[in-house]
């Protein structure tokens, strides 16, 4: 590679560094954030759990409530459920189309929310993950306004991640970061079977 290309690259990257550094200088407020992951693509819950791994790397205390229980014990539960830095809770009932029992689902939702709500009031947690909670708003198993009120009263340092296909407008309004995970292609549609370590 010629010196000219090398120098051109260096000048371009120096300019980029100025832009990046200026942006970093502008963001100086220190507080916990509410992150929402929504959309029909694969990777929302796994993103929340990856962020939790990151937090655990920095020795932050974490809490999880999974608002949907599948038929099989998940890899994330097997993995994080044993970790001393994580309080891991799984709701007592499964997908509505599996249980087909609305009253039972509402009762389980209330119990799961009671645990989540207690965590939101406990300043020892640095990160909470409410996995698939948005599903409960969609089916009206849980009142979104109660959840919003508790989120707003949480300790200022606390980070919270919420996942689910559809995000309630009330949550979107108070979220600091929203990422939309869109399905562009999925192995399942090409006939590949769901597998441990990927889907659960």
């Amino acid at each position: 590679m010629s010196d000219e290309i090398e120098q051109k690259h260096q000048r371009k990257m120096a300019r980029l560094k100025e832009v990046v550094d200026a942006r970093i200088d502008q963001a100086q407020e220190e507080r916990g954030v509410l992150i929402a992951l929504k959309g029909n693509g694969k990777g929302k819950s796994s993103s929340a759990f990856g962020t939790m791994a990151r937090a655990l790397g920095h020795r932050q205390k974490c809490g999880v409530v999974q608002f949907i229980k599948g038929r099989i014990e998940t890899g994330e539960q097997l993995f994080f459920g044993q970790h001393p830095g994580v309080d891991f809770h799984v709701m007592g009932t499964g997908f509505t189309w599996e249980t087909q029992n609305r009253a039972q689902d509402i009762e389980a939702a209330e119990k799961a929310w009671a645990i989540a709500d207690r965590m939101l009031q406990d300043p020892s947690y640095q990160l909470l993950v409410f996995d698939e909670i948005t599903y409960l708003f969609k089916y009206k198993y849980l009142d979104v306004n109660r959840v919003v009120a508790s989120l707003q009263k949480r300790p200022p340092h606390m980070n919270v991640i919420i996942t689910g296909r559809t995000l309630a407008r009330e949550i979107a309004e108070i979220a600091d970061t929203i990422s939309v995970v869109q399905d562009e292609k999925h192995a399942f549609r090409a006939g590949v079977k769901a597998q441990p370590g990927i889907e659960w």
Copy 2:
């Protein structure tokens, strides 16, 4: 709640179950998949690491190559770097706008790819994560066709996750699953400082 509502819910959910079960029956091919996470939103790398936590929960052997090294040791490296089930490698150089040295970056990219390529030939791995590899294609630090050839020759059971803002067309063509993570809102733009456990 009246019985009528309860029965209506039950009928609706029974129909949904039929649809879900039929879809599951149609996907029976068992093999490893290539998953790509792209887009400008937050959550791509964390999604890959969350999937890895899931795989580790099922006692699968995992390998990671992070193709971008930041200035600070990341939470994911601190967390997974100690785990006996993970081989964790971080490339020897950082963002191009930090290093501003093209020749040095290319050399580091080659070294990182050599590690990744060896992992792709080793059937003891069940899941590999190539974090931010697409960045190397964008800057032409690594030939995408070499990477495609190695991905196609990998053991059939092996799952691979690739992350990065922009995905090369050649990788998109052979990917089984592609999720696009889009930035709808970001705390950084509202002035909130990047923090350990969330950004790194």
